[in-house]
């Protein structure tokens, strides 16, 4: 499969979300960050019982309501209308972040501007200009038992997002343990990126060339295979 084009043959966001969804364990409590990570819920595998937490004080929420059916007191952290599944509960913000900070969530999945090989994450602002906004990201990266990232492998202008050291302002230090990108699945262990899966058409050299820090191998590297057609 010569001629792999990083920008054209990469996975779509839906495909990255699908891949991340496969790792969500049955019976787990999960917080999905605003935006792209939220898409993961759509691809939750059949038969897995997952409870979603949103930091504004709801546990066990379900799909978005039909248009016109929204109740704007019933929203998620992204201010989108939600519905409740049986067994849902409401609580105030301090209890909600007790769930986060206290280590009660099994998994938090966030987006990223940059991820460093030591697990540092930068995902809240790109520089010092404009209006900064942090929300719950800095809380979520500490506390959840596993913190994963879903992201394009490179920036829009082709620069690596996986780097030796973050240059953007940090969200958290040494917090990310797994990264699902548009090209690969990479674990972070002992300050190193460990390649677990990559797209089958992509060579190690091609992948390393768009990665800003050394990719290490520890055992097999599996093919990253996802459904072609995801809506």
């Amino acid at each position: 499969m010569a001629g792999f084009n990083i920008m054209e043959d990469k996975l779509s966001n839906a495909q990255i979300a699908w891949r991340a969804a496969q790792d969500i364990e049955d019976g787990s409590y999960v917080n999905l960050g605003i935006g792209f990570p939220e898409m993961i819920a759509k691809f939750q595998p059949e038969g897995r019982d997952v409870t979603y937490h949103t930091e504004n004080g709801v546990l066990g929420f379900g799909k978005a309501p039909a248009e016109g059916e929204e109740d704007w007191d019933l929203i998620n952290a992204g201010k989108k209308a939600i519905t409740l599944n049986p067994g849902a509960s409401f609580f105030h913000h301090a209890d909600s972040f007790s769930m986060v900070r206290g280590g009660h969530l099994d998994l938090a999945v966030l987006g990223a501007y940059q991820i460093a090989q030591n697990g540092d994450l930068a995902n809240w602002r790109v520089g010092s200009k404009g209006v900064p906004a942090v929300g719950g990201a800095m809380d979520l990266v500490h506390g959840a038992k596993r913190v994963a990232v879903v992201t394009d492998h490179v920036t829009k202008d082709g620069k690596p997002k996986l780097v030796e050291t973050c240059t953007f302002p940090l969200t958290g230090v040494g917090c990310v343990t797994r990264v699902y990108t548009s090209l690969a699945v990479i674990d972070i262990e002992d300050g190193k990126f460990i390649l677990r899966e990559k797209l089958p058409g992509l060579s190690m050299e091609e992948l390393q060339a768009v990665t800003g820090a050394t990719l290490h191998i520890d055992g097999d590297v599996a093919d990253l295979i996802v459904p072609e057609d995801l809506s």
């Binding site: 201010k79 105030h92 913000h93 900064p132 906004a133 929300g135 800095m138 809380d139 302002p169």
Partner: protein, 239 residues
């Protein structure tokens, strides 16, 4: 000990210039729009209260609520976690012009700092923000092999909150996810004013279902069919 207030206007009448005011809600969910608008109306009529510090998760949306407060020029400083919304023009303009201060606080730390004041805890350690620019200048310490940042309580003179059911001694419940910061702010402010959709006699709320006990509430005003910020924003309402 009847804490009933006759109107939103009366409810906000004692807030002075320069006050620190916590305002409940997360986006439009649980936002006390009628109390905020009464405060804006008072400012337009009398020039007071001005130079307010407002504590909320966000910094307003559209042309109503906190956004309208900011637009009106009553707000000196926002303490919030996420000053972004579908239409954050009011805050953005003032901020980029240097006409409003911003203290940005991670959302969980904001909640915990508010709760800490209510609980008489002047400072606590959190892992949140360690190693980031939001921790600069704050003491840090290691506990059980992990690094933590010390944060202090967040005080306020007034809290304006929104409940669902209330009784005349100040007990409150909340509606759905509209609970969010409201019970915490009720604990934290020197004076807490609640608007409620239904106001009843003591005993109308089952004691086991009270979310905010009346001890945390100083005044309660019935607003029977409260406006929803999100609906106002989506329909382009300007206050």
């Amino acid at each position: 000990m009847d804490k009933t207030l006759s109107s939103p206007a009366e409810a906000v009448s004692a807030i002075p210039d320069g006050a620190k005011v916590m305002i409940g809600g997360f986006g439009g969910s649980g936002a006390p729009i009628e109390l905020i608008h009464a405060l804006i109306d008072r400012f337009r009529e009398t020039g007071s209260p001005k130079a307010l510090t407002v504590i909320n998760n966000n910094a307003g949306n559209g042309h109503i609520g906190i956004a309208a407060m900011i637009k009106a020029g009553m707000v000196k400083k926002m303490i919030c976690s996420f000053p972004r919304s579908s239409n954050a023009e009011a805050f953005n303009e003032k901020f980029l012009a240097g006409e409003i201060e911003l203290e940005l606080v991670p959302q969980g730390t904001l909640a915990e700092r508010i709760r800490a004041r209510g609980a008489g805890i002047p400072a606590f350690y959190t892992p949140t923000s360690f190693g980031t620019e939001l921790a600069e200048g704050k003491p840090t310490e290691e506990f059980d092999g992990k690094m933590y940042v010390r944060e202090q309580w967040l005080k306020a003179d007034f809290a304006l909150i929104k409940g669902q059911q209330g009784d005349t001694v100040g007990n409150l419940t909340y509606r759905l996810a509209g609970r969010n910061f409201n019970p915490l702010m009720a604990m934290a402010a020197d004076k807490t004013i609640a608007q409620v959709s239904e106001l009843g006699a003591p005993g109308t709320i089952d004691p086991e279902q009270v979310i905010t006990p009346g001890i945390f509430v100083d005044g309660v005003v019935e607003v029977a069919n409260p406006q929803q910020e999100e609906v106002l924003v989506r329909t382009g309402v300007v206050h």
